[in-house]
């Protein structure tokens, strides 16, 4: 039983075997009401918060607020790694299209390949000709770049405009930490990806 708990905790991101063990023994020595409260919060989050069936953003209904908004431009799609990147880009008020949230970046060393991300769903969304431009707004770091490289290769044969946020976003960082001005400028100055 204790080993099961350690194994489950060890599956969480950033939790190694040693930490998993430490957390497990901490939980075992914790007051039962505290553990019950933690279990309750975990279940409640799982029940209430879900992911938009269209774009993968966090949502409290079947579709997220952005996908339900009829004023958004249907022809431009912005691809990001995480829901928190949607929040960062929305803050700039620079972008009026819709999003596609991949659920992370391609990271083979963590066992994450293209099949583990929502890339198949992206290709399905692009199957009709509504979208004419895809903006790749993955993080300006190595895994984000590699993910953009992979997506560019998948999208180019579809004949739509593929753009990448303009450089000026320092390489190495997370998109969510870019300030509004920098991020807004990166959107304005986005360039076609061509090889």
């Amino acid at each position: 039983m204790v080993q099961d708990l350690i194994d489950e905790l060890g599956r969480l991101p950033g939790v190694g075997p040693k930490s998993a063990q430490r957390i497990a023994f901490h939980l075992l020595s914790t007051d039962p009401t505290d553990v019950r409260r933690l279990a309750g919060v975990l279940m409640e989050v799982k029940d209430r918060v879900r992911f938009c069936v269209t774009c993968g953003n966090v949502a409290e209904e079947e579709q997220c607020r952005i996908c339900r908004d009829p004023r958004r431009d249907l022809t431009v799609l912005c691809v990001v790694e995480e829901s928190k990147d949607v929040i960062a880009i929305e803050r700039t008020r620079e972008f009026r299209g819709r999003y596609h949230v991949l659920g992370g970046a391609i990271s083979p060393i963590e066992g994450i390949g293209p099949d583990e991300l929502r890339i198949r769903e992206l290709m399905q969304r692009l199957a009709d000709d509504t979208v004419t431009e895809v903006i790749l707004a993955t993080d300006p770091n190595l895994e984000g770049e590699a993910t953009a490289t992979y997506l560019t290769r998948m999208l180019r044969p579809l004949g739509l405009r593929v753009t990448r946020l303009a450089s000026g976003l320092p390489v190495g960082g997370d998109l969510e930490y870019a300030d509004e001005v920098t991020l807004g400028r990166a959107f304005e100055g986005r360039r076609s990806v061509d090889d």
């Binding site: 990271s107 060393i109 190595l142 770049e145 976003l169 190495g172 930490y177 300030d179």
Partner: protein
Amino acid sequence: MNLYRDEAVVLRTQKLGEADRIITFLTRNTGRVRAVGKGVRRTKSKFGARLEPFMHVDVQFARGRTLDIVTQAETLSPFGEAISGDYARYTAGTAMLETAERLVVEELEPALQQYLLLVGALRVLAGGERDGSLVLDSFLLRSLAVAGYAPTFGGCARCGAPGPHRSFSAGAGGMLCGSCRVPGAATPAAETVVLLGALLAGDWPTAEAVDPRFRKAASGVVAAYLQWHLERSLRSLVHVER
């Protein structure tokens, strides 16, 4: 502050807290080192870009109580840019980083040969002149050899009888002659064995002269051999685009 300086390749980064990362390096003098890069996920970080996987850096650490802290980093070779711009190379390179991390088992134990091998292999991979999959297979074989698991593709791994031989067994350590062969041994094509021997020796003219259709079989042998010597399989190997 107790500072030390070294050359290193960034093997892996993991998010830590709000804006930090734990960075695993393979250093020239101190082997595998894990250290904290403070604030490197902020886009204003002065050295975040230099502490990305594949980067070859001159780095200064401050000794910490549990983990050391990166206090300076200067780029020696920006391998990351060239590698992340080509997906097949990115996947091959990632498998190299993971292998180096796994074969340098102990932290802080010098592993100069592994370090030099990795820097050399990343340079070739980033240069883009050689087939990424071949560069990877050559690195895997040579890295295993440095770790003390050199396979034999010439003489018999058991009795030393001069080759070429026809059977291969990962468990036996390479090719086996007719009298030493074990049940379940594979029988790769002669060309595949030549390719494997050339990749282990770093003999590019010979390796590139072998018909490319034998590369896939050679990769299979390398993967089986690697698997035999690692406790857990490499996560990145299945994602390598061949």
